[in-house]
């Protein structure tokens, strides 16, 4: 079953190459390779669920020399998120690009991005992580630039600079660790890390670089422009998956590599920044004039929840409560991944239908697109954190942990964040009830609408009512 791991990385990578060679066939080649990828991920998930964590060393070298891949609960869940979102985005993308040249550019880059993500989730040593991180950043930048307009090029260039700076910080940290401990394997590094200058400097550099890539407040300045000017399928992937990669790495580093070296103030800092992100991001989303900008700022806010969760995780002593917070964070990350990709795809439908995405002029459009409006509502329920979404369960446990720890300020922040989220989501949904001319035959563009709808249903119902297995899965493996 270990082969599934290699397969998970190889299918999109091969797909990217083949799609580059046969640009005219790229769309179905892309979808095909992602279907295969999803099958492989499904097998890997089933295997990990039953057998627990597994390791594979490429090329038969011994661990520490060869490229090691690790599949544990966290990694397979992120792979599953990526596989589902990637599949939905790909189905959507087959009908999105009207210019065949755009499509021919999109598919190889997009498949490369998925391959990089999969590699990143499975990588077991710090240098391979760097390679996948760089690959991910570059393909994301290129995809952002596909919009072709001046704003998208500007945003992509800024994104490129930020990405390179972030990777540089990360790489510097890796270099320090290698000098100090002579290994790059995460487990072996983790065994040697202690409260010493080398570990602490590496922790700061690597975390700093990743926070920049993850756009944690106040390092989010590049995100709204990049995410809101990219083509819709790209925005969905960037907001749902790419920023999650950075968060995933911070989570791994803080809980597995550096738990001894993380100072108390580190948790405090993340908690404060996360809270600011929630409040500032939600407020900016509420003030946004355009739908895509609203969705982008909402991502800034939602990342804040994840980092608040991480801060709570660090201060919660190991045990049942700790596992509960861990599960809550992962479930919120998964829910956000599904919900935000659903939102961006739905916005894409609205934008193509109306020719714009100005929120104040959406009356007729949202009434003629009932399925898409419904998708926005489902995604919105998950973003606000209302039941029965997965985010509601996550938020319940985060609030519970905050109350137990006496962190009333965090309770307040999460509460205000939810209310602001409700305000910005319903500001959009209110337009579904305008008095604009009523079309008794609504538009039903199934192939464009159902990916968003499916993702929204998974975020709200699937992860809400059917996610009880996630907690023991994560708890058992951690």
């Amino acid at each position: 079953m270990n082969e599934a791991m290699a397969f998970v990385i190889a299918t999109p990578l091969l797909g990217a190459m083949v799609a580059a060679v046969f640009p005219r066939q790229s769309h179905w080649l892309g979808v095909l390779s992602l279907i295969l990828n999803a099958v492989a991920v499904g097998l890997l998930l089933a295997f990990t669920l039953s057998q627990g964590k597994s390791t594979m060393v490429l090329g038969g070298w011994q661990e520490g020399l060869g490229i090691a891949l690790h599949a544990d609960a966290l990694a397979t869940l992120m792979l599953a998120l990526t596989a589902c979102v990637a599949l939905a985005v790909s189905f959507y993308a087959t009908g999105y690009f009207h210019n065949p040249r755009d499509a021919a550019r999109f598919w190889p880059l997009w498949l490369l991005l998925v391959a990089a993500l999969n590699g990143l989730f499975l990588a077991g040593d710090l240098f391979n992580l760097y390679v996948t991180l760089e690959l991910l950043g570059l393909s994301a930048v290129a995809l952002t630039a596909l919009g072709g307009k001046r704003e998208s090029i500007d945003a992509a260039l800024r994104y490129l600079m930020v990405g390179l700076l972030g990777s540089l910080g990360y790489l510097a940290g890796v270099a320090i660790l290698y000098t100090a401990f002579g290994t790059l394997d995460m487990q072996q590094v983790g065994d040697q890390v202690a409260v010493d200058p080398a570990s602490e400097t590496a922790l700061v550099l690597m975390t700093g670089g990743l926070l920049l890539k993850t756009a944690l407040f106040p390092l989010h300045f590049w995100l709204p422009a990049a995410h809101s000017n990219a083509p819709a399928p790209v925005s969905a992937a960037l907001s749902a998956l790419v920023v999650k990669a950075g968060f995933y790495l911070v989570l791994r580093l803080w809980t597995e590599v550096f738990p001894q070296a993380v100072p108390e103030q580190g948790a405090l800092l993340l908690g404060v920044l996360g809270s600011m992100a929630i409040l500032w991001g939600s407020w900016q989303a509420l003030r946004a004039q355009r739908l895509k900008l609203l969705a982008a700022y909402s991502t800034v806010a939602q990342l804040g929840y994840l980092f608040v969760g991480l801060a709570l995780l660090v201060i919660t002593p190991a045990g049942a409560a700790h596992d509960l917070v861990f599960g809550a964070i992962v479930l919120m990350a998964l829910t956000h991944g599904f919900a935000k990709s659903s939102l961006f795809l739905a916005i894409g439908v609205v934008q193509q239908h109306a020719g714009h995405d100005r929120i104040d002029h959406l009356d007729g459009t949202s009434q003629r697109l009932p399925a898409t409006t419904f998708a926005i509502a489902l995604a919105g329920v998950a973003l606000i954190g209302l039941p029965p979404s997965g985010a509601f369960l996550g938020k319940w446990h985060l609030i519970s942990t905050s109350i137990n720890g006496g962190q009333w300020l965090l309770v307040l922040v999460m509460g205000i964040g939810s209310l602001l989220a409700a305000a910005y989501i319903f500001r959009v949904l209110g337009h579904a009830f305008g008095e604009a001319a009523f079309a008794s035959r609504p538009v039903n563009n199934a192939s464009a609408e159902w990916p968003a709808l499916t993702l929204g249903i998974i975020a709200t119902l699937g992860l809400g009512l059917g996610s009880a297995w996630v907690w023991p899965f994560l708890g058992g493996a951690a």
């Binding site: 479930l331 209302l386 039941p387 446990h397 519970s400 509460g415 939810s418 008794s440 907690w471």
Partner: protein, 500 residues
């Protein structure tokens, strides 16, 4: 899978599935939509009858589903849930008939009936919730499913009203959530058990329990429209008449009141709540709301707004009954849960008929309307007299029990004056309407006569629902001592709640 496990799911599904199916229907498939609606409503009624029989014979109905560690979806039926479920099911059926006639040929009907069914599903879910987590879940779902109904007309005013509604209920939901999470931290998963579950907790947690009680009451008080959290209710009156009827009689306002009853009796336990001195503040808040709502109702010329403030006042009778320690107060409060629903839905149906048939929206336009629409006005009269508390209509029964309960509990000093003042105020804002409708000379031109006067005063689908509910209001008062009457159920509930 035996019946006792699946019955509760079937009761939920009987409105959920038709509701979901209706969303996909074409706007013009009138027949299919009506059939789905009616099948769901009648089926639910049958299932609830089975449930009622079972609960009376002490059968347990329970469904559990773990959805996260410590968070379990629990559906459970006890006497109190049966009372609320049968109220919502019965009134849903009647309101569906009314709504089908009311919305004839208007746009967005599939959307309307879809959310209408979801709204009832959430209400029934609330009634059947077996623990606090499930209650919170359905409480939020109720907010979500009613928002589209309030915004339904799509006018700027409707959108504003819906936004206000949302702001209040989301805020309330959040406070309730925080209270619930906090309580679960202290006491573990909070199941609803007759007699309450919290009295076992150590004494040093009592200050926290008091604070949590405050949070829960604020969260529920928003929907129950307890002053000063009632601001959304008059603004939400922009909704179509069937929605207002349902919101005021069964769904939203009642959900808040039902929640208060649940928390006091089945979480804290009435005796423990009395020990913590939580009942007095609740009673005072209810009394203030009763008087304040009535005073505001006096000043409204808009008929629906007058009814809205009357709801603010009347629903707090339930909270007042809860706050009166002793079986009689409990009986009065719980019975009023049903009585107010039946009477208020009659008033809203009738008011909607005036607006739909003659274009009458204001009290000052109602001269002689009794001669033009005698049956409708008769139904309105029964509802109004019941609200004032005139025997033998339902409202009298609840007021009687509240009064005697207060005397028994030694609270007569302030409860009886509140009841008298409120009845006087009710009379002051209802009697002039009745006088004008029956005795003032009829006007020759109505503001906007849409249905010409013929053999029947208005569309039969609009006329029959208020007649049926008015008869119900009369019957539950007249036959209050008959088996299966709301009063009998309230007595059964009171019997099971007092443990000591």
């Amino acid at each position: 899978m035996n019946l006792s496990n699946t019955l509760l799911l079937m009761i939920l599904g009987s409105s959920l599935l038709p509701g979901l199916a209706i969303f996909f229907l074409h706007e013009h498939s009138y027949r299919l939509r009506t059939t789905l609606n009616m099948i769901g409503a009648v089926l639910k009624l049958v299932l609830v009858a089975v449930l009622t029989w079972g609960v009376l014979h002490e059968q347990t109905f329970e469904t559990r589903w773990l959805i996260a560690p410590g968070l379990e979806l629990v559906l459970h039926a006890d006497a109190l849930s049966v009372l609320f479920v049968s109220l919502s099911t019965l009134l849903w059926l009647v309101t569906t008939v009314y709504a089908i006639a009311y919305l004839e040929n208007s746009p967005h009907r599939s959307r309307f009936f879809g959310f209408f069914s979801l709204c009832v599903t959430s209400t029934v879910g609330l009634a059947l919730a077996g623990n606090l987590f499930t209650f919170v879940l359905f409480y939020e779902l109720l907010t979500l499913s009613t928002y589209p109904l309030v915004a339904h007309k799509g006018s700027a005013e409707a959108n504003r009203g819906a936004r206000t509604y949302l702001a209040y209920t989301m805020g309330g939901g959040l406070v309730l959530l925080i209270g619930a999470v906090w309580l679960q931290n202290l006491a573990g998963p909070v199941e609803f058990v007759e007699g309450g579950v919290l009295s076992q907790l150590p004494a040093d947690s009592h200050p926290q329990l008091t604070l949590i009680f405050l949070l829960l009451m604020i969260g529920l008080g928003v929907k129950a429209a307890i002053v000063p959290l009632h601001g959304w209710l008059p603004r939400a009156m922009v909704a179509p008449a069937p929605v207002s009827a349902l919101l005021h009689a069964v769904a939203v306002v009642k959900a808040g009141a039902f929640g208060i009853v649940r928390i006091v009796y089945d979480v804290y336990g009435i005796e423990f709540a009395a020990d913590l001195d939580l009942l007095m503040p609740l009673g005072i808040a209810a009394a203030v709301t009763i008087i304040y709502g009535s005073v505001l109702a006096l000043t409204q010329d808009n008929l629906k707004k007058r009814l809205a403030y009357s709801t603010v006042s009347q629903v707090s009778y339930i909270a007042l009954g809860t706050a009166i320690f002793g079986p009689l107060g409990t009986i009065g409060g719980v019975a009023h849960l049903v009585h107010q629903g039946v009477m208020k839905i009659t008033l809203f149906f009738a008011a909607g008929n005036y607006a739909e048939t003659l274009g009458i929206h204001k009290v000052s336009e109602m001269h002689g309307v009794g001669r033009r629409m005698p049956l409708n006005t008769l139904a309105f009269t029964i509802g109004a007299l019941g609200m004032i508390g005139i025997p033998p209509i339902a409202g009298f029964v609840s007021k009687w029990y509240l009064g005697t309960g207060a005397m028994e509990a030694g609270l007569a000093v302030w409860v009886i004056p509140v009841l008298i003042a409120s009845s006087a105020l009710n009379a002051a804002y209802f009697l002039p309407i009745l006088y004008r409708a029956w005795f003032a000379p009829a006007r020759s031109d109505w503001p906007d006569e849409r249905i010409p006067s013929g053999r029947q005063e208005t569309h039969p689908g609009l006329l029959w629902p208020p007649i049926i509910t008015a008869s119900l209001a009369l019957a539950v008062g007249l036959f209050a001592a008959a088996p299966f009457s709301p009063l009998e159920w309230a007595e059964l509930i009171a019997e099971r709640e007092y443990v000591r």
